[in-house]
């Protein structure tokens, strides 16, 4: 799990608002990057980077909501805080349903903005940790051979070595050796841990 500095991406067509919000975030100690429109952000932003978005709802070209939808399609799950010139209720409902972290109206209060940003970064941090672990387990799982995966599934289904050996038509000793190999490759020491990992990988259903 690699630790990257989270970046707050500010996207607003209004130069002075964008500049001021970026400035405030930087003063509050965040790493902030500003973009005049959705296109600029899409061209520049590294998808894997951690951080969050402060996004103006109404912009010429693709609007904030349109950018939100596009990011979701790409699987980019940076949390989004919306800024709006005026409380547009239908728009805020749509934004929140689509997964926005918060919907703030301008002129935005410092506490509200900073709190929203910190919350968003927390969410981002959480999701990226989760994601890192699942990627790690996936890579471990990928290292297993076909036979080992078969035995892994049967072990977490709670079958005994004897049952597995008779089901596969191999020696019980061989099953034991595979089983030790799986434990080692999946970096677990107990059966309970192996069952949990299988749960994280979603293997129970299979």
């Amino acid at each position: 799990m690699t630790e990257t500095i989270p970046v707050v991406h500010v996207i607003d067509d209004d130069d002075s608002v964008r500049k001021a919000v970026t400035r405030l975030l930087k003063a509050a100690g965040y790493e902030a990057q500003d973009y005049a429109n959705a296109g600029d952000f899409l061209l520049a932003a590294p998808t894997a980077a951690s951080g969050c978005l402060v996004l103006d709802v109404r912009m010429p070209g693709p609007s904030g909501l349109e950018l939100q939808a596009a990011l979701k399609r790409q699987g980019n799950c940076l949390p989004i805080i919306f800024l709006s010139g005026h409380g547009d209720i239908p728009m805020s409902v749509q934004a929140i349903k689509a997964g926005a972290v918060d919907f703030l109206t301008k002129p935005v209060q410092r506490q509200a903005l900073l709190a929203a940003v910190s919350h968003a970064l927390e969410i981002n941090r959480a999701t990226s940790a989760e994601r890192a672990r699942s990627e790690f387990l996936q890579s471990c799982y990928q290292a297993l051979t076909e036979r080992e995966r078969e035995i892994f599934r049967m072990v977490v289904q709670g079958r005994l070595n004897k049952q597995i050996a008779s089901a596969l038509g191999i020696a019980e000793r061989t099953v034991k050796a595979h089983r030790a190999q799986v434990m080692e490759k999946m970096q677990v020491t107990t059966l309970a841990d192996l069952v949990r990992v299988a749960g994280e990988l979603g293997l129970e259903a299979a």
């Binding site: 002075s16 608002v17 001021a20 400035r23 010139g85 005026h86 410092r110």
Partner: protein, 720 residues
Amino acid sequence: MADEKTVKPEGSHGHQRLGHQRLGHQRLGHQRLGHQRLHQAFRAALAIAGFALAFFLLQRLTFLLRFPPYERTTFWVPGALTFSILLIAPLKNWWWYYVGLCLAGYAAYYGDQQIPASIALLSAQFHFLAVAAGVFFIRRFADGIPFATVGSMLAFVLAAVFIVPFATSVPADLIRLYQGNPHVWPTAIRSFLSIALGMLIATPALTTLLVQFRNGWQSTNRTKVLEALALSAALLVISFWVFTKPAEGNAPSLIYAPMPFLLWAALRFEVSGASWALLVIAYLSTWNAINGRGPFSAETPDEHVLQLQVFLLAVSLPLLLVAAGAGERRRAYSRLLEEMQERRRTEERFRLVVESTPNAMLMINRSGEIVLANQQTERLFGYRQEELLGQPFERIFPERLRPEPAKSLREFFAAPALRGIGNEEELCGLRKNGSEFPLEIGLTPIESPGGLLAFAVVTDNTEKRRAEEARRELVHASRLAVLSEFTASIAHEINQPLGAILSNADAAELLLENASPPLDEVRRILADIRSDDLRASEVIRKLRGLLRRGEVERQPLDLNGVVRDVSIILRAEAQRRGVEIILKLSANPCIVWGDRVHLQQVLLNLIVNGFEAMAETRGDRRVTLSTELSGGEVIVRVSDSGAGIPAERLPKLFDRFFSTKREGMGMGLAISRSLVEEHGGRIWAESPSGSGAHFCFALPLEPPAAETQSDLLNSVESLR
């Protein structure tokens, strides 16, 4: 007699003749012309014969009054007939009377041994020439009708007493001298006086007789006729008495007994009366003298004649002048009377007009006093006429406004011309009961006998002002209605800079909490705060004008600037609706004379109209604003990229309550039209197929202030 008037064709004949000429039928015209010639010849013959006969008879009558043995006459009347005729006859008819005179002169001496026919004809020539000379003299020096004024009478007297007798008798005397006549000198004097006296006494009487004959007899006043009869009778009686009394040594003073009656005739019947009375006296005195009666029968016949002539001349000269004076005075008096009546009628008409007009009217003199006020003034102000007359006219205004009308009145009398009073927007009248009402006053100069007056027409403007007020309200309400449609966008326009300011301030605060605050960054933040503040206040300033219900302020302004301002106000709204606003402004300044807010309102209406037209448009949404100078006008176009407008709707677009929108009141475009027309411009819509709708208006271009510019240049020059 000579009278051109009867020669004129009658109206209907003239009309006929015109018709024939147009149709090209000449025959009837010729016939008419022949007929006319015949008529003319007949009239000439009649005039010649009539004149000859009258002259002959008068000559014969004169012969009866000759004194033997030298056949002297006291006064020669036939010459007066020639004189009278030529005085009133037009020059082209004079030959008639020349012929008549030759005939009569020849006939009168026919069979006379003393005077052969050749001499008679010759003296007729001289006589005609002499009378012609006299007539020319009178026509040259007398104005209008002879005898009408004392001046004309003097001209006549000079002609009658000197020119005609001299020119008539001198050639005859010369002939006598040539013949070796021994009595030339006494004869010369007496015949000179005889001719002069005849001319003087008889010409006025004969002339008036002829004029009356020519003009047809006019019915005279009954009492005047009775008076004339009484005068004639008295004159006859007294004359008989005076001139039939035998001469009694030294009592010639009695011959002045007819004087009062002669004066009566002169004063009451003027020149013709005096002339007739003098004729009566002359005939009676002469007749009686010939027959040896009366005061002129004592001496020899030669003496009688001279004495009679002197007496008659002495009486007739002043009498005729007095008569002319009386006539002149009477005519002047009646003219004056007529003028006075006319003036009274005019005044009455004026009064009726002033009283019957629906406006209140006042007349004000130079010192600012009311000299006339009509009934409407009473009704409007609640004063009675007597309460206003003689009062200073400022009294009809409220105290606070009085200096203005007083100043206007002073300016009016300094340069009298039609003008108004004060500021029409604010001028009020004050009623007797203290209430005020809006009014309008026009001043017209009127010349009166008492000097220049100001004629003030007062119009009650209560209704007009109310209507104007209602219209202003409507215009304002409509402006608010349009603006209210995009309050959200306007709030956004103000919110943006406010949000930026807040965030900047927060950022600055956070930075200052540092141990070593980055002051340069804080300074930059403050500069940004200032510019954002200005940006917000600029939006508010632009809006405030539109929201305010202010007075109309006309001034020269650049339409390009107006378009730019409106595009800024609408920027956010355009964004919200996904519309792009494109400006295509003229490179030259488009200066018009107008009210900024009203012109912005027109543009707002047209642009919002365009926005709404494109609400359903799928493709590009564009509103193009363009200005263009064309033939002394500025044309502003608002073009949208919507579906356009069906041609049959175009003319109705600007009508009141015509709307194609579900929520529209149909007032926006109607108000736009009235605002544009108020600026002396026009507004219209075009919809060329496939390119949306174009709403256009044109305003007259304000000519650049050339003097101001040259003044500016001059001052720059002088600075160098």
